[in-house]
Assembly symmetry: C2
Amino acid sequence: MNNISDAVIKRLPSYYRHLEKMLKEGITHISSYDLGKRMGLTPSQIRQDINIFGGAGRQGYGYPVQDLLEHIAKIIGITKTQNMIIIGAGNIGGAIVGYSSFIDSGFKTLAMFDVSEEKIGKKIKGVIVEPVSKLGEFLNNNDVKIAVIACPENQAQSIADILVSNNIKAIWNFAPIDLILPDSVVCVNVHLSESLQQLSFRLNNLI
Amino acid sequence: MNNISDAVIKRLPSYYRHLEKMLKEGITHISSYDLGKRMGLTPSQIRQDINIFGGAGRQGYGYPVQDLLEHIAKIIGITKTQNMIIIGAGNIGGAIVGYSSFIDSGFKTLAMFDVSEEKIGKKIKGVIVEPVSKLGEFLNNNDVKIAVIACPENQAQSIADILVSNNIKAIWNFAPIDLILPDSVVCVNVHLSESLQQLSFRLNNLI
DNA sequence: TAGATTGTTAATCGATTAACAATC
DNA sequence: TAGATTGTTAATCGATTAACAATC
């Protein structure tokens, strides 16, 4: 079950989303064929994937939706709430703290951090904005493993260094920069500009 | 030069970003070895990629940074400003219209659209919020090919249908749903929840 | 039991890496 | 010229798809 490939990891949340939807629709079991049709994958790939992350089906019957959903939730790690903090109380930071579906799937923002005097002390969607200078202290006093970097690019690396030295283990990075991090810290980038440029390329290279 | 694979398309904006940075640093030419070191790719892959999208180097010398940057900008399609609209004036929509770096790389938001009476008529970062009911009319009167879907999930598909029937050719989708679109329309998804879940998986499966 | 569908092995496909002659 | 480095072909690696025996 260990050593799940990158390709499979990227599909995991999509499995979760589709299974959740099916559960809501009252579907109790589903074949690799039908699940593949919903997700845009081949039945073969569905079966390979599910075997890799350790789900179990039944011949002639398919996969039990609820069991599979619970199993995936468990390996993703969203069965219990995980705390996070957001560095940068600007547009992106504000959008993330306000994006309610994160709460649904088990993530809770404890605090935001910014350098702007106007923002410090205020609340955004009920979450307090603290000064960046208190970042280390805050992390020492709270159980947080996930941090969101939504600050300007030129501060991102130094913020990351502070986070790492205060025991943050996962960084969700919105700054358009490749952070230098130790192997013991995981990172997922959301490079919005690059995503939009990808769209632009596809638009300008339509056949 | 045509039929650039998905893998290469995803790397294109990263090439652009790194080359732009190098140009600012005053680097005039670079070898596949050094570029690979900066981008975290092998020299082999750099050379393969550049050949695929039609750049040109010189043996014994490397690649001219400015030429390559201009070439990539051209095939991405960001040499001239491209208009876009945003559907949904909520958290995500607000963050995107405010994200100034999009303007730097040639994207201009002409208008936002929402259903909320409170938001309609107001301006966000200088951009007017129009009622969704005027979407079709607006698209008939303006040259826009790119639309951002940042509305609630349950409205996303019907919005997409309106966009498609009014000649939008590229959709940047932030709703957690797989849109059904004709082949003549390109789409890039930004599924934030899935991205965060990926981070969670990696955090919870660290060795 | 018969039909459906999994689990898993083998085959294929595509992407990455290695190698090296060409050449600046 | 000699050294560096590309462009490109071949080798490798990994991911996806196909096939089919096992079995519910």
